[in-house]
């Protein structure tokens, strides 16, 4: 396919304020009206967005050295009573989104409410609130101090970096409950006997669905992350490019993922929001948007794939999912999901989205405005993500007895 423009040429246009950037929603309309060829000639960049809970998120910090010095590595450390991982050098710590305080009853009183945890702490850190840091450890000749209790604030930390090992799933399941009692999952509360069907994707605005073969989204791609700038660091964990795809190339079940990184100090609390999933745990909603350069006509054809053409699998979360049994109760497209009702086993089931489409739209608009104002240049990926032909796949655990 003929190369129409390079990323360097697009960046030159961004610097001159001449770039044509459209959101994925706008591109769908444009391609329907003018066709892919004409649209590809006109449009330089397509912006995407997504805003949903992404559990494999977290942030690392360097808190600076106290006097006398303390070595948190090998000790224990909490931020607002939420345990962080300190198994590094003296004052580096990593806070995971799903961590909960030690005194949280979890699911002992079922379903647990999980009112506060890692996701909420990350939100408060970004919001500039003072955070209680409490640490105990062992003393050494070079790090004699054993206890530390202090308030910390993001403005004083040496580094505060969001580093999420799996975000931005390319497509996801539609969760239902075939059992006769309510269940509480990471996909929300599912009422018995197909009482509701919950999904979690921005569909036609979702970044990896708009570049289904990772032609331009790769390692090093610059993105909108948490209201600031971030980068794709690697393929995400559980990256599964070999998932079955439709004729249009779109995966029909959860497929690609990305690991992302960015400076937390320039992010905004409204785009990194702590969540409490009843009976499940704490998580972090991450706002993310990826620009897709229109390098050729194929790029815009992919970017213009609409909700009607993106299919997801309906999965029973009362039995199949927890037992690790693959199998689907059928597939539906995102236009059907967004209509508010889908048919499952002959029953009309009301749908709910865990991922905010209106926020995803806001992100795609925001990223578009950054690009148009010249505030955001595109980056060339430095290496591709493992693709559909790579054989790279998501495998289950092979359990082996410890003898």
């Amino acid at each position: 396919m003929r190369i129409m423009r390079t990323i360097k040429q697009i960046n030159d246009k961004i610097k001159k304020g001449e770039v044509v950037a459209l959101t994925a929603e706008e591109v769908i309309e444009l391609v329907a009206k003018k066709g892919a060829k004409k649209a590809a000639e006109e449009v330089d960049v397509v912006t995407t967005g997504t805003f949903g809970p992404m559990c494999s998120s977290g942030a690392y910090f360097n808190i600076g050295h106290s006097k006398p010095k303390i070595k948190l590595g090998g000790g224990t450390c909490t931020l607002n009573d939420v345990l962080v991982y300190a198994g590094f050098a003296a004052v580096d710590i990593y806070l995971g989104a799903t961590a909960v305080p030690d005194d949280d009853p979890r699911n002992k009183v079922y379903p647990g409410e999980f009112k506060y945890g890692g996701g909420h702490v990350i939100n408060e850190i970004v919001a500039g609130k003072d955070i209680r840091l409490v640490a105990t450890t062992y003393g050494t000749d070079c790090y004699p101090r054993r206890k530390l209790e202090t308030l910390v604030n993001i403005r004083d930390l040496n580094e505060a970096v969001l580093f999420n090992m799996r975000n931005c799933y390319q497509n996801y399941n539609v969760a239902v409950n075939l059992s006769d009692k309510s269940i509480h999952t990471y996909m929300g509360t599912l009422k018995p006997n197909l009482g509701n069907a919950n999904y979690c994707s921005a569909g036609q605005l979702s970044p990896l669905l708009k570049d289904p073969y990772y032609r331009t989204i790769g390692i090093g791609t610059k993105i909108f992350l948490g209201g600031g700038i971030g980068y794709v660091a690697w393929q995400g964990t559980q990256h599964n490019p070999v998932a079955p795809r439709g004729e249009n190339g779109i995966p029909k079940s959860p497929a690609g993922t990305i690991a992302v990184i960015g400076d937390l100090k320039q992010m905004k609390p409204e785009w990194l929001v702590g969540t409490s999933m009843l009976g499940y745990g704490v998580s972090l909603i991450v706002g993310m948007g990826v620009p897709i350069p229109v390098l050729d006509e194929q790029a815009i054809k992919f970017a213009a794939i609409s909700d009607e053409e993106i299919y997801a699998q309906i999965v029973d979360y009362s039995s199949s999912y927890p037992q690790g049994i693959s199998g689907s109760l059928g597939e539906v497209n995102y236009a059907q999901l967004k209509s508010g009702k889908i048919a499952v086993q002959g029953k009309q089931v009301a749908t709910g989205n865990l991922s905010s489409y209106s926020k995803a739209r806001e992100i795609s608009e925001e990223l578009k405005s950054w690009i148009k104002k010249g505030d955001f240049l595109l980056s060339e990926p430095v290496a591709p993500l493992p693709g559909a032909e790579s054989g790279y796949a998501f495998k289950p655990l092979k359990e082996r007895p410890i003898i």
Binding site: G188, G195, N196, G352
Partner: protein, 135 residues
């Protein structure tokens, strides 16, 4: 005809009085109990949809007040914290009365509190806990 959803707070001494019976018998009012939390020796709370002739309705309300029952219109009691709400829509299929609805165009979630029966199902399932109850 008047029909209103109201919240009644009973003082402790009233909990063993047949108040709803009086509303029916003496004032010819129809009632639909949406929620009730009445424990002996404690304050009672009842959410009612009360309907009947305007005159009877007003007399019924006067009667309740004269007994020392505190009355609040229901719509003040369940509110949405718009700063916390992310408009995801996971509450929509949980709501039994379609008081929470997604706008098909803007994809924002609207809360119609006149339809709300204060069942509170949305409160704990909201990922950002944006639905708040004030009784």
């Amino acid at each position: 005809m008047t029909s209103q959803k109201i919240v009644l707070h009973f003082p402790r001494r009233m909990v063993d009085q047949p108040i709803v019976y009086k509303l029916v018998k003496d004032f010819d009012l129809k009632f639909n109990i949406l929620k009730a939390h009445v424990t002996p020796q404690e304050e009672g709370l009842m959410v009612l949809e009360l309907s009947g002739k305007k005159e009877n309705f007003n007399r019924g309300i006067e009667y309740l007040k004269s007994c020392g029952v505190k009355i609040q219109p229901l719509s003040q009691d369940v509110t949405r914290n718009d700063i916390k709400c992310t408009d995801c829509g996971v509450c929509v299929p949980i709501c039994p009365t379609e008081a929470l609805v997604v706008d098909p165009k803007t994809r924002k979630v609207h809360f119609y509190n006149d339809k709300c029966i204060a069942c509170e199902l949305c409160v704990k399932i909201c990922p950002t806990r944006a639905m708040e109850v004030h009784f």
